[in-house]
Each structure stands twice: as structure tokens, then as C-alpha cells.
């Protein structure tokens, strides 16, 4: 098992004809993700060609090795006609919040938004819209979700992953790759890796994903990567202490960050002395969670907990 995505996940790419959307849709198809459709308003009726050999997928490929998927004008059509159940969004910031709402409204149960740079007030509205709905949002401003060997949805390099039993959960894309690279080098595989993104207002938070990992029999331990800004890591620490049945190794990025400066991610800022790395590390350690001393030691730290 795994969480959120697996070999049966049927993916539609919103913004599939854009430069990034096309590039990553092809990389996901090459990995073996079951991409069933693309959406670009005004391009309905055309087809999207994987151009590269695909590893698997139930649809018969007219050309050996490559795959063509239909492009629709709306997500609703992709759900109805192609059976999409999960959306991956590559729509630029001005239309990204609308794209999320469209996917949820069309019935996608999981929406993964890669787009970076969505105005925070747009996301406040999106979060309000999601209240009381069963659809889950991952991101925005995130690398996506991957269940190694089954399904890759997003921009992460697939080849560094290895199938296994460790869940990885992170606000940062490249630090996730760093953690995965270290685990794979140690021979430790991953169940699912989830990038929740670095924006101040986003979809699933640490606790939502920890809960999924906790209930997944195939996940035996978790690496959680946080950073300066906000209080999500502190809340997660308390939740882990009260509920988590599996070992958790953590990292907080930004020990060396100054106050009042936005460190790349919109949410990575220490304001009014709150949201410092020291404060977060203290909360995690007080909850009995082992914090890696450096970003280079995430894999080793997790291994030391596996016994």
C-alpha cells in the first residue's frame, strides 16, 4: 500500500499544453503514471503525445511505446469521458486558484497544484471553498506526490526514488530530493513522498499527511521536513506525541536565517520573533522526535530510529 496515489490513480494534467505542463506530463508518463487526459481551454479535441516510451498504462498505444491522451476544454469532461480522479495543475498563478476549484468541482478526489506564486488571498478563498468537501489539495508551490514504482505526479526526479516503507513529508522540493537521495543510498526505500509546499496558506498540512502515514500499514517510519515561518511544525510535534505509532525523524531548515526576510518560499519568514528554527526544533525534541543535526544527516537519523 501507499498513501494518496498508486498505480490505479487516473491523472488529468491541467495546463498540459504549456511548456512546464507538457514537459512534466511527459516525464510522469515515462515514469509509468496513468495519465488519462489533459485540459487546456480552447484545445479540446486535440491529443497530447507522450513522445517518449511509457513504462505502463492500460491504454493501447497506437505507436509502440508512446501514448496519446485526449485534451479537453474542461476538467469535468476529463472526469466524465476519461475517468480522471486526480488532477495535477500547471496553470500559471493568475488562473491557478480557479483551476483548483474547477478540479474539485468536477469531482477530482485529489488535486495536486505545482504552481508557484499564487496570491495568498486567492488561497484563503480556495481553503474556504474546500471546507466540508472530501477532495484533498496538495500544494500549491510544491513538487507533488510520488509512490515509487507506481505513480509520480509532479516535478520530482523519478529515478532517485526506491520502493519501500518510509514516508517523506516536506515543505521543500529540493530538500525532499536530498532526503530521498540519502535514503535510497542507504538502501532504504520510500512508501510515498509528499511535498506539501512552502506557501503560507495551502492544502494538506503536516498533520493531515502524518495521519495518512500512521494508518498506512506499508509505511514504517517518516521523515518530516519543515522550515522557518508559522507554527505548523509545532502543532505537528504535539500531534505526533499524542498519536503517532511510527518513528519520525525531522529536519527544520533555516537555523541560519535572519528575522524579517522571506527566504525564497512565500511562507518562509520569521516575523516578530515567531517561527524560528530554534523554537520549532525545541517543540519537536520536547515531543520526543529526533531532529537531524544537518540536512546531510536526514537519512542516517531515520535509519538510527528503525532499530
Amino acid at each position: 500500500m501507499s498513501i494518496l496515489v498508486n498505480k490505479d490513480t487516473r491523472v488529468v494534467f491541467q495546463g498540459i499544453t504549456g511548456e512546464s505542463g507538457a514537459l512534466h506530463a511527459r516525464a510522469c508518463m515515462a515514469y509509468g503514471t496513468n495519465v488519462v487526459a489533459g485540459v487546456t481551454p480552447g484545445r479540446g479535441g486535440q491529443t497530447f503525445d507522450s513522445k517518449v516510451p511509457v513504462a505502463m498504462g492500460p491504454q493501447a498505444a497506437p505507436n509502440p511505446g508512446t501514448l496519446q491522451v485526449p485534451i479537453y476544454n474542461t476538467v469535468a469532461e476529463s472526469v466524465k469521458l476519461a475517468g480522471a480522479d486526480t488532477s495535477c495543475i500547471f496553470v500559471p498563478p493568475p488562473g491557478a486558484a480557479d483551476a483548483i476549484v474547477e478540479a474539485v468541482d468536477a469531482g477530482c478526489k485529489l488535486v495536486i497544484c505545482i504552481t508557484e506564486g499564487i496570491p495568498v488571498l486567492d488561497m484563503v478563498k480556495v481553503r474556504r471553498y474546500l471546507e466540508g468537501k472530501s477532495a484533498r489539495l496538495v500544494g500549491p508551490n510544491c513538487p507533488g506526490v510520488i509512490t515509487p514504482g507506481e505513480c509520480k505526479i509532479g516535478i520530482m526526479p523519478g529515478h532517485i526514488h526506491k520502493k519501500g516503507h518510509i514516508g517523506v513529508l516536506s515543505k521543500s522540493g529540493t530538500l525532499t530530493y536530498e532526503a530521498v537521495g540519502q535514503l535510497s543510498a542507504l538502501g532504504i526505500g520510500q512508501s510515498t513522498c509528499v511535498g506539501i509546499g512552502g506557501d503560507p496558506v495551502a492544502g494538506l498540512d503536516f498533520i493531515d499527511v502524518l495521519e495518512l502515514f500512521n494508518n498506512d500499514p506499508d509505511t514504517h517510519g517518516v521523515i518530516m521536513i519543515g522550515e522557518i515561518g508559522g507554527g505548523a511544525e509545532q502543532k505537528a510535534a504535539a500531534w505526533i506525541k499524542a498519536n503517532m505509532k511510527k518513528p519520525v525523524a525531522a529536519l527544520i531548515a533555516g537555523r541560519a536565517a535572519p528575522e524579517g526576510k522571506r527566504m525564497g518560499h512565500a511562507g518562509a519568514i520569521i516575523s516578530g520573533g515567531k517561527g524560528t528554527a530554534a523554537e520549532k526544533i525545541e517543540a519537536l525534541e520536547a515531543a520526543g522526535i529526533t531532529v537531524a543535526p544537518t540536512p546531510a544527516a536526514m537519512g542516517e537519523t531515520l535509519r538510527s530510529l528503525l532499530g
Binding site: 537521495g181 515561518g229 525564497g264
Partner: protein, 406 residues
């Protein structure tokens, strides 16, 4: 993006938020006539001379002064303040040069309140934070007397509800007949302003109640959400580039994310998290990062060249650490950019490069064939130790035990 107090007040006024009369001055010569006009218009003999810099805490630093002796007094104060290096708790010890003044009418102040709107990331709502303790450092109030802080959250579907505004008015002691309507109207205007202008923070400290029971925004601090820039072309005119770090500005124009720091090890990294992690690991091994630099996921060779040029040009940089885990970012693109910038400007300091991920072999080949004195690292930890050791060798500093530096 931050703007000046006078700009914030001009925006407030458009939404119907009462602000004192005032005018901006760029030279001392403008101050006398402005003060004269304000005194004539308001019949109040007092004016206030306020330094316009983006940092808070101006009053305590000597950047806000009251002129009771007419236009001459205002001019004398302007001479003191304009051009001064204003040091506040937010500017750092170097301070910020005062290049603009705001000359404002004096007011008969009965009470000072605190009011702020911001995005509360934990509740995912706009929050209004208010206190009866205006004019003070609000973080201090929150720390010592948290019961004096009132917070309410706004449902984006409903907007600011009438009852919420009234509730806040009663909590702040402005629920009387004379002030209730003025306060709720002001609050509603500020909420509309926050939404329409895409603010991430809007703070008025103090919001005053005058002797005539008027509600007036005596200060105004606004930060815009940088992500919303695409729908606000007017922001470009509000930007004061003299308040921004020139290197950070150059980086922004090149589509890079850069923050200047105090140390001496330049960093070039892909991804914000890894860039922060790289700073952390340098510090862990006893070094000190000179910058945060995220070239992003899909940087071109030109962007990498620009980024590396910025690091090479800095006098404080005694060593450089390039740390790349290529996902979308290809290692060969990074390597080519680094080589191009180095060939142009020369390399006078040690350079450690760690490449991992997409096209790593091609990247390493480009570096090897460049003939440059590059030390290759096999991991992030190894690279950090190598650059810290190389810089120490140069500066002759005594080593600090790992993990002790902070």
C-alpha cells in the same frame, strides 16, 4: 513589497479611512511652505515631521518630531532628520538613510489604539488584531499583557460582518454613540482596502481617537503580497528602490531569489529549502553564509551566470559553495553558467561544487574540462566541510567545533 507611510495613507484615503492632512517633502526647502499650508488649512499651529523609511520604530530612533513653533520649527527639524542615518530596532545597527519626509498636521489625541490586518496562516483567514494599547511595541504588549490583544477572523464568504466590527468597537472602548459608527466604517474601509490592494499586512499604530471623538489613522504600514504583483501594475510607481538592497533588487530582476547575509561564504543553490539547508550546514561546521540564493527549478544558463557573477563581485565573499540537487534543474546547465561567469570575472577564492541529480555526469565533465580550480564534493555535508576549511585556511581563523556556532 513595502511602501512608505505617506503612500499607505494616500491609499487609505481612497477607501475613506480618515487620515491627517499632510504632504511629502524630498528637500528641506519644501518643508516650510508645506507646514505653512497645513497650519493655514487646519488652524492647528502644530505640525509633525516624520522620516519616511520602510522600517518601523522610527519614533524611538528620533525620526518623528513635533514642531510647535510654526514653519520655522518644522524646517529646523527637517534639517536634523533629512539625510540622517536613522537607526531603529528594525534597521539593524547600520540604520537607513532618510531621503523623504512626511509633514503632517498636529492632532488633539485623546486615546491611542492598535489595529492590524494580516493573513493568519494557522487559521487560513484574514485576521484583525487590535488593542487598547496603541502607540506601543505590539510584540511587547502581546508578551506582557496578552489579555489586551483582541483577535477576530473573517470568513471570506461573509466578509467583515457588522457584528464583528461592533464587537471590536466595544472591546476597544469606542462603542459609544460618538465613535461607534466612525470606527466600524473605518474598519470596513480597511478590510476592503486589504482585499483590493492585495496586502499581506496592514498596520496602524496608533489609530487615534481625537478630542473631538474622531477616529484617525495616525500611522500606516502596508506590505503587499509579492505574489499578486501581476495584477497591480501600479505598484511599480510605489516602489522605492533606495530602500532595497541593490543586489537583492538585481537578483529579483533576473528572476532569482537572493537575500544578503553577514557571512563570507557565498552560496548558489537550487530550491529554497535546500538553499536554507545549505546556509544551516555551513553554520553547523563553523562557517558563515554570505547569502541565500535560490536559482530556482528551471533556471537558464544566463540566470545561473548572473547569479554566480553576483557572488563573485561581492567583496565579502571568501569562498563559494555551489550545492545542486538537480530535479528539473539540469547539472550541466549549472556547470556551464558557473564556468561562463568565472571565465568572465576570474576566480580569486576557493570554489567547492556539489552536483547531484539530472545530467550530473555531463555537469561534472564541463567543470573538469574548464581548467578551473574547482574542488568537487560528493555530498552536501562533505562540500560544506570543504568550503569552511578552505575559507579558514585563507583567513587564518581558529576552527569552531561543529554545531557550536549559532
Amino acid at each position: 513589497m513595502k511602501i512608505h507611510e505617506y503612500q499607505a495613507k494616500q491609499i487609505f484615503a481612497r477607501y475613506g479611512v480618515p487620515v491627517p492632512k499632510g504632504e511629502v517633502a524630498f528637500t528641506v526647502a519644501e518643508v516650510g511652505p508645506i507646514a505653512e499650508r497645513l497650519i493655514a488649512e487646519t488652524k492647528i499651529p502644530v505640525t509633525v515631521v516624520k522620516a519616511q523609511i520602510h522600517a518601523g520604530g522610527r519614533g524611538k530612533g528620533g525620526g518623528v518630531k513635533v514642531a510647535k513653533g510654526g514653519p520655522e520649527a518644522a524646517t529646523a527639524l527637517a534639517e536634523q532628520i533629512l539625510g540622517m542615518q536613522l537607526v531603529t530596532k528594525q534597521t539593524g545597527p547600520a540604520g537607513q538613510k532618510v531621503r523623504r519626509l512626511y509633514i503632517e498636521q498636529g492632532l488633539d489625541i485623546a486615546r491611542e489604539l492598535y489595529l492590524a490586518l494580516l493573513v493568519d496562516r494557522d487559521c487560513r483567514r484574514i485576521a484583525i488584531i487590535a488593542s487598547t494599547e496603541g502607540g506601543m511595541d505590539i510584540e511587547e504588549v502581546a508578551h506582557s499583557t496578552p489579555e489586551k490583544i483582541v483577535t477576530l477572523h473573517i470568513d471570506p464568504v461573509i466578509g467583515l460582518a457588522g457584528y464583528q466590527a461592533r464587537q471590536l468597537a466595544y472591546a476597544l472602548g469606542v462603542g459609544g454613540k460618538e465613535t461607534l459608527k466612525a470606527f466600524t466604517k473605518t474598519l470596513d474601509a480597511l478590510y476592503r482596502c486589504f482585499l483590493a490592494e492585495d496586502c499581506s499586512m496592514l498596520e496602524i499604530n496608533p489609530l487615534v481617537v481625537t478630542g473631538q471623538n474622531e477616529i484617525v489613522a495616525l500611522d500606516g504600514k502596508v506590505t503587499f503580497d509579492d505574489n499578486a504583483e501581476f495584477r497591480h501594475p501600479e505598484w511599480e510607481k510605489l516602489r522605492d528602490i533606495e530602500e532595497e538592497d541593490p543586489v537583492e533588487l538585481e537578483a529579483k530582476r533576473a528572476g532569482l531569489s537572493y537575500v544578503s547575509l553577514d557571512g563570507d561564504i557565498g552560496c548558489l543553490v537550487n530550491g529554497a529549502g535546500l538553499a536554507m539547508g545549505t546556509m544551516d550546514i555551513i553554520q553547523h561546521y563553523g562557517g558563515s553564509p554570505a547569502n541565500f540564493l535560490d536559482v530556482g527549478g528551471g533556471a537558464t544558463q544566463e540566470q545561473v551566470t548572473t547569479a554566480f557573477r553576483m557572488i563573485l563581485r561581492s567583496d565579502k565573499v571568501k569562498g563559494i559553495f555551489v550545492n545542486i540537487f538537480g530535479g528539473i534543474m539540469r547539472c550541466d546547465v549549472v556547470a556551464a553558467g558557473v564556468v561562463a561567469a568565472t571565465k568572465e570575472l576570474g576566480l580569486k577564492v576557493p570554489l567547492v561544487v556539489r552536483l547531484e541529480g539530472t545530467n550530473v555526469e555531463e555537469g561534472k565533465k564541463i567543470l573538469n574540462e574548464s581548467g578551473l580550480a574547482i574542488q568537487a564534493a560528493n555530498s552536501m555535508g562533505e562540500g560544506a566541510q570543504m568550503i569552511v576549511a578552505a575559507v579558514r585556511l585563507q583567513t587564518g581563523e581558529t576552527p569552531v567545533a561543529p554545531g557550536k556556532a549559532s
